[in-house]
């Protein structure tokens, strides 16, 4: 139960150190040539201090192509019961019995995708949970660079002079607005893939010369 305390050693914190060492591409780099990792977490609740990651899904985007070969989905063994959150993500305690250790999955994420700009829909939440999880597993958390497809969409709608209702920014609503295939909500990999699709669509108006700096501006 307190396994994360025991894991707090230097060998593990090197994962974070190594991740932090790989530089992010300079802001002037072209979006068309940058690497992204679209990612989504399913959670037991919304409080990073109390709640846990139930599952994680990701899929990389390179040269604006979603690479399905590297799509991953992991169920995470949780120290507490999934409880009522099962209503949303459909994952029940018994399915989580042969799930993965969070440290194992985070290690894979940090070693394989160092230098990638992470992409998520409403990324603040995912970022917080990732940081807390890293803190628990490795004793420290790296700085992630996130792009938020929800904020990009919000700015896009504002620029068009639209009144943005809360529901209009949900992933499903965004996909529909962009004419993208709708998918079952609340499955970490499907949602990660959806936000990758959404990112591709959102990048289009920027054209071939769009830089990462331009993208960060849109994602504020």
């Amino acid at each position: 139960m307190l396994s994360w305390l025991r894991r707090k050693n230097t060998a593990l914190s090197e994962v974070v150190t190594h991740f932090a060492k790989v530089p992010y591409p300079p802001p002037g780099s072209l979006v068309a040539q940058s690497n992204f990792l679209a990612l989504d977490l399913e959670l037991t609740g919304l409080n990073p201090r109390k709640d846990h990651i139930v599952s994680i899904g990701w899929v990389p985007v390179r040269a604006r192509e979603i690479v399905l070969a590297e799509a991953k989905h992991y169920l995470i063994s949780s120290p507490v019961s999934v409880g009522q959150s099962a209503v949303y993500h459909g994952l029940h305690d018994r399915q989580l019995q042969n799930a993965h250790d969070i440290a194992e999955v985070l290690t894979q994420l940090l070693t394989q995708y160092a230098g990638y700009v992470f992409v998520a829909h409403h990324s603040a939440l995912d970022e917080q949970f990732l940081r807390v999880a890293c803190q628990r597993c490795f004793g420290k958390a790296p700085r992630f660079r996130f792009v938020d497809t929800m904020k990009i969409e919000w700015q896009r709608l504002l620029r068009r002079g639209k009144v943005v209702k809360h529901d209009a920014l949900k992933l499903g609503a965004c996909l529909e607005r962009h004419g993208l295939p709708a998918m079952p909500d609340h499955h970490a990999l499907e949602d990660a893939y959806s936000s990758a699709l959404l990112l591709l669509s959102e990048l289009k108006p920027g054209g071939e010369n769009m830089t990462l700096a331009d993208l960060y501006l849109l994602s504020r």
């Binding site: 979603i66 399905l68 070969a69 993208l180 295939p181």
Partner: protein, 608 residues
């Protein structure tokens, strides 16, 4: 790990729908997803297979000619992957969409591993429409007892007399009876039994059926295959088999039923037509046409053969009506030919065809001659209408006085169309240039046909206008939105297989045939002749033939579907009901039509 949306899409897309879900998951791991925006041009020389997920993409040739439009479920790039050659086409995004790029290695591996997928792409590439028909369920090849047995049960009780049995047989016009006791089958009695076991034995008419019947007869289950019945009949040398359904006898299958159900069933119907002495009788015969069509379709008779058979029946009805008219009106005052135009002439009549006919007379249609043929034409046209071949809405019928002409009259009319063609007139007249003699003098008809063909072959202006008329309508480039969908009177929407497909081919083949003085009227035969005489390339001829067959097949199947559902028979096909493979085939057919129209334009519409 697979993405549900990608796997689900592939599972629904021909030819990948033939793969197991594990194989699809394997395939999807080799896919990269890209998003295109309107106006983007797609880099197609990437050695990958492009699968359109959403959006619309337009393909242009290196001369910027619009070739085709790709939409969800369509492919590009297999051409290069199969041949290793690149071409200079350009693909442009017309409506924002997602594209799956499947890596070459995975594509090839999939082809090696799954023969059907290889065949699909090979054929998509070589555009051999007729070869990649969907695999038929084997059961559809074979008729079942329930498909052929008559739905009526004629039975007697064993204590009834043989005379009563014989009377029942005569009344019901059957050759055998079921013998039942308390609703249980105990035997059968046939007319042969009455002869050999009653008459020949000098038994009285009061003999009970139970004494002479065949006890515990062979029987067959209603859902058995017809060939099982044939086997049983020949094995036991019997001609009658009671049909059992869930232990209860429901009818009798006779050797005649079996023979009737075979391919030569139309022969029976035609024979029956020629035995009818009244229009009522013919009307009754014609009610069997729908059943015949169902049988033909169950036996997988190809549409063009079915069209031929249906036309033959219309011919027989016409001939018999002319005979009956003459019975009523007396001998004709002069020699005549009964002509058919349009689909009846081309022998590709469908189930919803209307009448297109006329009379060619030896003498001028004035006075008594005129009166006689007016009555004859009326009799025949009204008779045909009663037999389900509806009156022509355009009044192209022999009952129209303008269409009862002498050889001189017809020749003059054709000469006018040919010498001073106007696009409008030709649009209406083109149907007249497909003509065939149904009854009466063949010599008279031959004289007319020769006259026409001699004129058309040397009339570039006429051919120009005929070609223009043939090019007025074009085939759709794809199934997009609603713009290709026609509406019929009842606001049903659909793709008109005739107007937007079959007719286009018929029209352009007619232009070639008339230019080359070909006597054939049937579209397929015209194409063969055109290729044989070197008028058109044999590959083009084959492609047009395939496209024609495919569209005719789809229309035939649509008509069958309508009949089964009890709807009116229409040519409107709902694109959402088309299977993936048929969609690819149709698109290929449309592409064939478009390129053939371009050739016609090039050939007949220049230098004028």
């Amino acid at each position: 790990m697979e993405i549900a949306d990608v796997s689900n899409f592939l599972c629904d897309t021909t030819p990948f729908d033939q793969l197991s879900s594990a194989a699809v998951a394997g395939l999807s791991a080799h896919i990269k997803v890209y998003y295109y925006q309107t106006g983007d041009s797609v880099n197609i020389n990437t050695e990958r297979l492009l699968i359109v997920r959403t959006g619309i993409f337009t393909l242009y040739s290196d001369q910027q000619q619009l070739l085709t439009k790709l939409q969800s479920g369509d492919f590009y790039g297999y051409q290069q992957l199969l041949t290793g050659l690149t071409d200079n086409d350009t693909l442009q995004c017309e409506e924002d969409g997602l594209v799956y790029w499947l890596e070459a290695d995975a594509f090839h591996q999939c082809r090696y591993q799954y023969k059907n997928i290889d065949i699909f792409f090979q054929r998509l590439f070589s555009r051999r429409l007729h070869q990649y028909r969907e695999q038929q369920q084997s059961s559809r090849f074979t008729l079942k007892i329930s498909d052929v047995v008559q739905q009526r049960k004629i039975a007697v009780r064993p204590e009834q007399t043989v005379q009563q049995a014989a009377k029942l047989m005569s009344d019901q016009r059957v050759s055998s009876l079921l013998v039942e006791e308390h609703d249980k089958l105990v035997g059968i009695v046939t007319d042969r039994d009455l002869r050999s076991r009653v008459l020949a034995q000098a038994l009285p008419a009061s003999t009970q059926v139970g004494q002479v019947m065949t006890r515990q007869p062979q029987s067959i289950e209603r859902h058995a295959y017809l060939y099982e019945a044939v086997q049983q009949m020949s094995q036991h040398n019997i001609h009658h088999l009671p049909v059992i359904e869930q232990g209860i006898c429901c009818g009798m299958l006779t050797a005649t039923d079996v023979i009737r159900s075979q391919q030569d069933h139309p022969v029976y119907l035609i024979g029956e037509i020629h035995r009818q002495a009244t229009v009522d009788g013919l009307e009754r015969c014609s009610q069997q046409i729908a059943n015949l069509a169902v049988t033909l379709s169950k036996q997988q008779v190809p549409a063009h053969e079915a069209g031929h058979i249906i036309t033959t029946i219309t011919d027989a009805l016409t001939q018999r009506l002319i005979y009956l008219a003459q019975q009523q009106l007396g001998e004709p005052p002069c020699v005549f030919s009964w002509l058919a135009f349009g689909s009846q002439a081309r022998m590709d009549q469908s189930l919803n065809a209307d009448q297109d006919n006329a009379l060619l007379l030896e003498k001028e249609p004035s006075g008594a001659v005129g009166d006689y043929f007016a009555q004859l034409a009326d009799f025949v046209c009204q008779g045909l209408a009663r037999c389900g071949i509806t009156l022509c809405p355009g009044n192209i019928m022999a009952s129209n006085a303008e269409l009862r002409l002498s050889l001189k009259g017809w020749s003059g009319r054709f000469a006018r169309w040919i010498a001073t063609p106007t696009p409008d007139a030709l649009l209406k007249a083109s149907i007249f240039f497909d003509l065939r003699v149904i009854d009466g003098s063949r010599g008279l008809f031959n004289a007319l046909q020769e006259d026409i063909l001699q004129r058309t072959a040397q009339a570039p202006l006429f051919l120009y206008h005929l070609a223009q008329a043939a090019l007025q309508r074009t085939a759709p480039l794809g199934f997009f939105k609603n713009f290709i969908l026609e509406q019929d009177g009842k606001h049903k929407k659909g793709l008109d297989l005739k107007k937007r497909g079959i007719s286009l081919i018929t029209d352009l083949v007619r232009v070639y045939a008339l230019s080359a003085g070909i006597y054939e009227v049937n579209t397929r035969r015209r194409l063969q002749q055109l290729a044989a005489q070197g008028v058109i390339d044999s590959k083009d001829s084959q492609n047009l033939n395939d496209a024609f067959d495919l569209l005719a097949q789809l229309r035939w199947e649509k008509h069958q579907h309508d009949l089964q559902q009890g709807h009116d028979v229409t040519n409107l096909l709902d694109p959402s009901e088309i299977s993936g493979l048929a969609r690819h085939q149709m698109k290929d057919s449309f592409a064939v039509i478009n390129s053939a129209q371009a050739s016609v334009k090039h050939r007949f519409c220049r230098d004028l």
